[in-house]
Symmetry: C2
DNA sequence: AACATACTTGAACAATTGTTCAAATATGGT
DNA sequence: ACCATATTTGAACAATTGTTCAAGTATGTT
């Protein structure tokens, strides 16, 4: 049996490679995961999320707190809404946003711990 | 006292806005946070990290496991190294990678829980 | 109905991203 | 010294991103 692709020796030797492959979730799930975590990869959104971790806030408040334009905030809130990272409720003219669940706060918390400890 | 900027009423009413502002970390810390979490926002990197959460692996093994080219893997490993998300050690011709600490695995775990529960 | 406030949206734009390909570097074996 | 293997790197490219600006929708007040 001839190997067509040029692969390294350790790959042929280590049978753990097969084990790892079969332990991976399907691509679809991996894409879902990365699209969710992608939302945390921007400083404007992190600022918004940190603010929301303290208090339920309307779009305009978030703009005042973060220093971003109302439009920029709204665009980012749409991203966060679509990815089910924040939830919202309308109250009169205002729309109030809050974190979707405890996992979102947990990720921010763990990430901050990592940053703090890696110095 | 006149307000120069056009801000919404709820911002003027709610004194919590000031509280939230002062609770936010400095911008520098927020950028650090987002740059760290940015690394989780790509399906190739997530695949690599999930693989590494199972086993220490060399570049070539990661390529075989993920189906990405060796070059693409190496470029992504550089990103993950720079952000202190993976660590590495050279052994002969191979360079073996592993997750930097338990926080990295924790973030992946929490994110997977979120995905699973939000359906 | 007319107006002000709160928010959302779409188009446009510069800036950044991830991959490929070719070339370079590093290590070990002969 | 030479060759093969393992990995890294740089340039190039299409694709995606986040912001701004202007225009839109939604709600409450008069």
């Amino acid at each position: 049996m001839v190997k067509s692709a040029p692969v390294c020796k350790s790959e042929s030797i280590g049978e753990y490679v097969e084990d790892v492959i079969s332990s991976l979730p399907p691509d679809e799930r991996i894409i879902e995961l990365s699209e969710f975590l992608e939302a945390f990869g921007d400083s404007s959104r992190i600022k918004i999320l940190l603010a929301l971790s303290k208090h339920e806030l309307c779009t305009c408040d978030i703009s005042a707190i973060t220093g971003l334009s109302v439009s920029a905030v709204s665009h980012q809130l749409r991203v966060l809404r679509d990815k089910k990272i924040v939830k919202y409720r309308r109250d009169g003219r205002n729309v109030f946003y809050s974190l979707d669940d405890e996992h979102v706060a947990a990720i921010l918390e763990t990430a901050m711990k990592h940053i703090r400890e890696r110095r």
